[in-house]
Chain length 354, copies 5
């Protein structure tokens, strides 16, 4: 649950624009990698000191500055100074409990995205905040820890084939978003498999723990929806933005991601419906089990309690009980026992309780 | 469930516009059939090599190029080259897990539709993606496998009667959509019959498996809704589009399909409500069964347990039990047995438990 | 249920505009009645041949042509030819599974409405499609079978008093819609009474069949909503239409029906809420019944099983059981029986189970 | 329930604008009271004949004509003639089953409101329709029976202090609406107290009748919502209306009522949620009770049935039962009885069933 | 519950603009503190007589007048006179049951906010109304009692560092809202922890009281939502307002709070879903418990009732019962007892009931 409400207590009371990183420290050292390219040239390097980026600010080539690790606030601050970023944007980059958002400023567009990861061990969806600043000739991306879904993009830039090297920062930004959204499908596939498993289990073996699993899955879906839902609006804003940062040719591609986002949301909603359905199946399984238990009890009780009563009658010690001395009385009582037993059994058979 | 989330894992990481067919290979060979007609002339042929279509691009006659089977990517690529289709469109054609969509380009309109089929054996609704590219003088349609709902249209073109031969590509496209939507009604009819059957069964014989069937039906409705819901917007966009590809006379026809789509959605929603209702009926049936079982148990136990106790009393071996030696004591005890039994039975009768 | 999805299978595959009547043949013969009137003159006649209407097309008087019975397609076709109606409109008139709709054409407005009837025997709401074509000097109305809610309008026309004779086709059309909507209130009243009855029954005698009745009523409400909901939009469109067919003075009257329609929808929604509430009451009644049964069982079992055990003890045949020979042991055991019985009874009384 | 659907059957079939009062006759005689005032002068009188109002129509003073009792249709008709009111408005005034509505005409604004009253005896909310006609120099208000919430307004007019005497008909109308809306808060307070009571009761003593009370309360909320919801739109329309009847200074006051209306709706929705919650609590209370009953049964049965069996063993009459002749066998059996009894009791204690 | 509907009865009937404080008297004395500052100068004082503020009205410095305690109506009235505030605004300030609202007047903006506090003892969220009047050179804030979340702002003003001293009244107002919204996160964190606790408890120990706790938590969420939801609109209005009171630089900050508000709402909705889920878990826990109880009962009854019957048979006193004299009959019966017992036990084991 804490995932829904990260410790933000240490933040409240501070003036707006205060830079505090609220997430856990997820990586040891901030690393800064730079891809600086145009159609013909590519320079890729990892730098230690953010000041080395200053010159990139003005070159007409596309520069992709990727910062991994947010705990070193001085790096973020320096970037803010170099690239003239609004303090609230810096605050948002560090405050990793943000919803996906789109903010348009005079000279740049600021986007917050959620990169997802499925932790097989805890069966939880883990979220990582990716913040992107897009200007005319550079893209700065921030991620909380190492490991991302951008390697295919890096390979494509290195390869130099395809569109990416020929197009500008807007296409690069699109590629980043696209990689993140494509990854959602992988997550959904995993969740889908999990639901399928649960579905079989809830029917074959409705253990009480299943309710918790269903509940947990429901929460994962809430979590996923929270991460994906605002993305729609982000992409919508990108498509409709009036600055010249997004070129017309890129908008067609954005329309494509928009469709994908809708599809992700659709699937999330469908999964939510399915998971709710699982609970219905579980509850009816439980009712059925209870019914079965009750039937067993009723059959045993209804057959043997009357018989015991009859046996009890002839266990009475009255002096005058004429039946007791009749030789065929005992066999007759047996016959009555069997007769009553079979009759009742037949009755329950008829009622389809057996 | 996999129907909701087809394996798209092998796709993620590829650059946008990569052509990979994600569906199963549903047919062996791609076949290309062409209808080239105007008011007076009709040519119908099946070709092997897509290059033969090149000249159709410029003739003023209406050309309907129908491609069946999507696994042969080279065919799709060549079509892309010949007809200058945007790579993302080609990607969408192959990625058969698309929602119905409408995309307008400079020279053509791209539509994705879902053709449905009801598989009697698995009682599932099977979906097939139909993509349509509409330009001023040709319509290209793509389908995943052989067999479609377009034969009546083919017959009408061949017959040469009616409007279709006199009107343009927009009317042909309308006809394709209309055939698909008309088919939805057939599917809904089948589902309606299924619900009707279930309704009788859930009352007469509420087996536990019924919950699964209800659940499955619910999922089919989710699936159906997912296929139909975006269609509304597709048709709306077609009606309101500003290119000259859709003529005013065709818009009246589109309005008609729009109405049909709304009607399909209405029915889907109604069915969803009904199916939810089935679950209520089932749960209350189960409760009633349980009540009945409990009543049988209670009646047997409440009547015979006290009687057994009385019999037990006179089975005690105390030396001094004056009743034991009274001759009419035994008959009296019988009278008491019968008296108590009838009284309790009457009580339960009065309570309407019997 | 078939009411939600009439057999439309025989229609699919036909070219749009094909005239097929999908409803049951509800009347034997199509009858055509004509009211031709203005402020001063009234002619009322029943004709056999639709061709007799031709001249009405041009006279400035208001002509109301009412066609009862839709199975005679030739009549519909001829009307189409005489009055130049679009084939899709004719198709809609015959396809009686339409939702209420409003279509505006160059020279006429086409409206589809649903006239309701409450069948006391099956306790079902029966729907009949009324299609109306409104032009400047004539109104053509189509109904599926004989018997309608328009007699008061006919009387008002005949009487010549009131507004109707002085006003045009738009007021006549308004009057038709008004009569239909007024009738909805009668239907709702019947349903309201039915709900009231059910409410008493569900409390006093919660039979299992009641769930079905509740379910059926719920479905009637779904059905009603489906018929009324789109009407709002129809009237809205009529009010806002830009053709000169609807005069400003009539719009005030349309606003009034709009209010009524909202009120009908409100009541339908309220009824739906109430019906859902009935299910809650039913389920809790069932739980209460079960509780009561369980209490009876528990009281009997908990009192007599221990007593039977004590009786069993002194029924044992051990040689050495000193209590057996004590003279006051038997009365003491009786005292114990009564003591335990009363104590337990008191305990259950205290727990308010008795 | 009839409150949701008053007998309107006697109305259907009549021409629009027919004057029929559908409510019960709630008062014996129509009384007409008039307040005619401006900043300096006040005349208050009760008149018998509506014709005496004719001259008020033209005087520049604010005239508030209040008609109590709607059964005397001739009065309403005369008012219609004198003040030139549209017949549909007169119809709406008499048809007291109206939703709150706002209608703007050339020379006047017509408003329908719902005045509420909480009947302590039946614990029902009773509704009374207040219709108001607002023109530049007079306000006509219609109420169904005597007794209203307007006395404070009358006192303020008489007192001559405050704004009311200085401002026009729009402020008077605002005051009337404000008095009605203020009254809603009183009703809500009563309902709130009722819910509070129920909440305690449902926990301490979940009697079956409580479900009905919950259900009834739910219905009251549906009823209240139906009366209040459309009010929002009425006030909105008043604020935005373009006639000069509403002055700018009054709009600030209307904004205030708008806020109150929203607050009323908010509270109604909150109450609805709470009432639904009560049902959940009730159902879980019932389940808990059932659990408790089952536990008592199980404990008694599980302890004494095995013991009875053991007693039964030594009640058998086999010739050769060596234990029977052992002197310490009987005490041993007692020890076993007690041992088993305590063990099982301990087991249930451990399970927290006792 | 009274929190949802404070005693407003004593208010109804009064003329609009009447000043009555409806909340409880939460503090003894009204205190007025003033911060009067610009970039260079800061004056901070606590005054007794509101008249001392008069001169602040005109100075160009930013003046923050904070009034604590609303029961002294004369203070509020004087403020109204001095600063020319509309009577309805004064009424709203005192009527502390207001929803968050935004009202724009010619010379000032009026905002109502809700400051929250989590009372650890009663586990309730307590609300306090903060009203803010914003003009070009002063901000007046009203709070119900002492103690607020504004101390960090006061410190920042005193410190003179950061933006606040350099910017105007709009930034001060923003800071107040920001402090309040930041505080919501703290409340949500507390609620989140509470839900986490409950979640563990509902699984490990589903006591009946838990339903009440769940219910109470649900109500807290309703309460929270009611306080937060309208805030969105307030901030939206501030952002879009057309007066010059809000400068463009401040709007970026407002956009930030807007995002926070959305995030609060998101979390509230997520919590609501989770709390509903808790109820599902509870209900299924209860069902499971019941199942367990039933199984114990059934196992005991089903094993020992048949055995008791067999023992009963050989307790019968028939003269002719040949088995009784067979020496190995008694051991054989024991064998049968054990055999049947083990068989049934094995059967239940197989059914996984043990």
């Amino acid at each position: 649950m804490t995932r829904f409400m990260k410790k933000s207590s240490n933040k409240s009371g501070l003036p707006p624009g205060s830079l505090i990183h609220i997430g856990e420290k997820k990586t040891d050292k901030s690393t800064i990698t730079i891809f600086d390219y145009d159609k013909d040239v590519l320079e890729e390097k990892t730098i230690d000191n953010i000041s080395e980026c200053v010159n990139l600010k003005k070159t007409p080539t596309v520069s992709w500055i990727n910062i991994t690790g947010l705990h070193d606030i001085s790096v973020i601050e320096k970037i803010g100074q170099i690239f003239e970023i609004h303090p609230l944007v810096l605050e948002d980059i560090l405050y990793t409990d943000q919803r996906p958002k789109y903010d348009e400023f005079d000279k740049y567009i600021f986007i917050v995205l959620k990169m997802l990861r499925y932790d097989e061990k805890t069966e939880q969806i883990i979220t990582e905040q990716i913040s992107v600043i897009l200007t005319e000739n550079y893209v700065i991306s921030f991620q909380e820890m190492e490991g991302d879904v951008f390697n295919p993009i890096r390979d494509r830039i290195r390869g130099g084939k395809g569109r990416i090297r020929k197009l500008g920062t807007d296409y690069l930004t699109y590629s980043l978003i696209d990689a993140i959204v494509d990854n959602y499908f992988l997550i959904l596939e995993k969740v889908g498999e999990k639901i399928e498993e649960l579905e079989e289990e809830v029917i074959s073996n409705p253990r009480p723990e299943i309710v918790q699993t269903i509940h947990r899955l429901k929460r994962e879906m809430l979590f996923l929806r929270k991460s994906v839902w605002p993305l729609r609006e982000v992409i919508n804003n990108l498509q409709k933005n009036e600055s010249k940062l997004i070129k017309k040719t890129t908008i067609i591609f954005l329309r494509d991601i928009y469709d994908h986002t809708i599809q992700v949301m659709d699937t999330v909603e469908t999964y939510r419906d399915m998971i709710s359905g699982l609970l219905d199946i579980y509850m009816s399984s439980i009712s059925n089990k209870m019914n079965e238990v009750m039937k067993v009890l009723t059959i045993f009780a209804a057959i043997f309690i009357p018989l015991t009563f009859i046996a009890g009658i002839y266990g009475m010690n009255f002096d005058y009980m004429p039946e007791l001395s009749i030789p065929w009385a005992y066999p007759l009582v047996w016959a009555i026992f069997i007769g009553i037993g079979l009759t009742l059994f037949g009755y329950f058979k008829h009622k389809k309780w057996v």
